[in-house]
Amino acid sequence: MTEKTISGTPRKKPLGGELVIPVCSLAFTLYYFSTIIDSPWTAQVSAFFVGAILIALSLTFVVKTLYLVKTDRANFGLNDLIGRTDITSGRIWVFLLTLGYVVLVDLGGFTLTTFVFLFSSMLILNKGRRPGFIALMAAGFALGGYGLFIVALETRFPSGPFEKLMQSVM
């Protein structure tokens, strides 16, 4: 469980990240139980069965982690989940852009929002290099997606200024 650092002192394993799934599982299961407490047995039977096992498993994991922390072999650090590389690699910014994409695609439409998302996230991940190439690539894929999904397959993707303009032209 404990690795050695360069100076030879034992390195504690960060287990904070590993606790996220069990803790969220516990919280969700308890919330789920609260929604079925007054329901007929048909709504309860399998959920109580599965939920009880999930609670037992999650609590076992939490207790095991607490024991490791107490015996100085681990800590609650989140290094295994979040670190400096998430900022330096651009991961965190791409996540925020994805969030923006999901929120804005209904307003901006598929083609325009996809272009903006692809262009900005590729530019961030490439650390600002080759903006012209990235713009061309983003435009190509956004327009290709428009041609395939909206024009050819007639999928009802979110419509925005670009789609409305093309509809009036065609």
């Binding site: 590993e18 079925i36 048909t42 599965v50 498993l57 690699s89 791409v94």
Partner: protein
């Protein structure tokens, strides 16, 4: 219903003359199968005006080809970028993606294509030969038997958990709990929906699939140059046609494995309500259980890739048997085909094979010809398709995120589903970073609601008597088979005196 063997030869050649419909449709099917959200059923619905305008024979060949090709297409992104195109390919990346990371993507694709085509071809021939007998399978499969079949699939969670028991089980049971979101099947009581009306029908599969596999993977690889390992890059750059030939040889050498797993797919496909996802999980689990090297599964083992691919292509023939003989569609695509056939005035049932044998048998012949042509058209492409892995992740990741999230919008056309895809992406990212298996979560989400439905149905029919689970002969045989599945690894382990160390 006697088999008109003399008709089959002429029907095969006649169907082959429709190559001009089949070959372009193969490529369309591969494309729609590879994009999460665009299933064959959706595409047939979208192209319904075109299909209805065609001659009945051409329309049927078009639909069958699209169905088979999309099934094969779903495995391509699963192998190359860890994104199953449909839930039926959810077990494919377990061993396909590790092969790609090691620079064996081309070999894995070749293996998958051969296993899919041979599995599909073989089950089509079996379906043609034993159709009346196979049609009766659906009569004997009631809720109790379905519960046991689901348990076969769910037991895969235990196998995944073998590497880290506690984490594997937490992931699997979390999946089952998420799968229980939505209204209950008897009184429609909303459960765990957090107030979202969009979750009343349960958690939609495509956003879960997209998020857990595609979005999480895209976030994970952004700090790498390529998705391949360093050794994988070296192998990939030095490859010509060799890996395609090698992959083909590996698959052909495992012909018995393909046969066995495609028959599992065929039988599960016949059962209405079951489908490719169940078939592929059950096949993977069975393959692992009876393998001499179960510890290699999940690390890029050929048999771990061949099993789900041959099974999910075996399902295609299976779903059409109850459709043609009983008029009961075995899956979503078969249901859409039913609508088209009824519109064209085709009466389904045993009489179809006497009155219009060219249509009844023609459907399976179209399937056989499609798989036959697919081997020659798709196999050479494996060399070029595998080049996707050489695209830098700085370009690949944003494209995966954008197009798969939009794909999660397609089946229901709710903006909510795109947000749900992102939520599952975050869950998948946290799970991968901290050592929880996303496949275990997905198995729970896919099979959990089905298991609950059949369980409640069985209990309702028996007035709450739990002993109903042991009330049928076939069910009891399946219980024994399930029990054997659990103890077989231990017995085989002693027999082969295997080294139990997991990698």
């Amino acid at each position: 219903m006697e088999l008109p063997l003399d008709l089959f030869g002429s029907l095969f050649l006649h169907t082959l003359s429709f190559w001009w419909v089949i070959i372009p449709t193969i490529f369309l099917g591969l494309l729609v199968g590879a994009i999460p959200g665009f299933s064959a059923a959706n595409t047939i619905i979208i192209l319904l005006p075109l299909t209805l305008a065609m001659e009945i024979e051409t329309g049927l060949i078009f639909m069958v080809t699209l169905y088979c090709a999309s099934r094969m297409g779903a495995g391509i992104p699963a192998i190359l970028v860890n994104i199953p195109g449909t839930a039926g390919a959810a077990a494919t990346p377990l061993d396909g993606y590790p092969m790609t990371k090691a620079g064996r993507g081309q070999e894995a694709l070749a293996m998958s294509f051969v296993a899919s085509a041979l599995g599909g071809l073989l089950t089509t021939v079996i379906a043609l030969a034993a159709m009346p007998l196979l049609a009766e399978v659906s009569y004997y499969m009631h809720s109790v038997e379905m519960i046991i079949i689901m348990l076969f699939g769910i037991s895969l969670i235990a196998s995944i958990a073998a590497r880290d028991t506690l984490k594997g089980l937490i992931a699997g049971f979390l999946g089952l709990m998420i799968g229980a979101i939505g209204t209950d099947v008897v009184y429609a009581t909303p459960r765990g929906t957090m107030g979202f009306l969009e979750l009343y029908d349960g958690v939609p599969l495509i956003p879960a699939l997209v998020g857990l596999f595609a979005v999480s993977e895209a976030f994970l690889v952004v700090d790498q140059k390529l998705i391949l390992t360093d050794e994988g890059v070296a192998v990939s750059h030095s490859s010509g046609w060799g890996p395609t030939i090698e992959g083909t040889k590996i698959a052909l050498k495992r012909w018995w494995h393909i046969t066995w797993n495609s028959i599992i797919g065929l039988i599960i496909g016949i059962i209405p309500g079951a489908g490719a996802s169940i078939a592929s999980f059950v096949a993977y689990q069975q393959s692992r259980t009876y393998s001499k090297t179960p510890e290699l599964y999940g690390t890029g083992h050929p048999e771990g890739l061949i099993a789900p691919e041959s099974a999910n292509n075996g399902v295609t023939a299976g779903t059409l048997i109850p459709l043609l003989i009983l008029g009961i569609p075995g899956g979503a695509t078969a249901a859409v085909m039913l609508v088209v056939m009824q519109y064209q005035g085709v009466t389904l049932g045993p009489s179809l094979f006497d009155l219009r044998p060219e249509l009844g048998y023609g459907v399976f012949m179209a399937m056989a010809v499609t798989y036959f042509l697919m081997i020659f058209t798709i196999l050479p492409l494996s060399r070029y398709m595998s080049r996707v892995t050489l695209i830098r992740t700085t370009y690949l990741s944003p494209m995966i995120i954008a197009f798969t999230l939009v794909g999660s919008f397609v089946p229901r056309e709710y903006m909510f589903d795109m947000a749900l895809g992102l939520v599952f992406g975050v869950i998948g990212y946290i799970a991968r970073k901290t050592g929880y298996h996303v496949a275990a979560i997905l198995i729970g989400i896919i099979l959990g609601p089905l298991l609950e439905t059949f369980f409640l149905r069985a209990l309702k029919m028996s007035d709450g008597d739990i002993m109903v689970l042991f009330s049928s002969n076939l069910g009891n045989i399946l219980w024994v088979a399930l029990f054997v599945t659990f103890i077989a690894p231990m017995v085989l382990d002693r027999f082969f005196n295997r080294d139990k160390k997991t990698p």
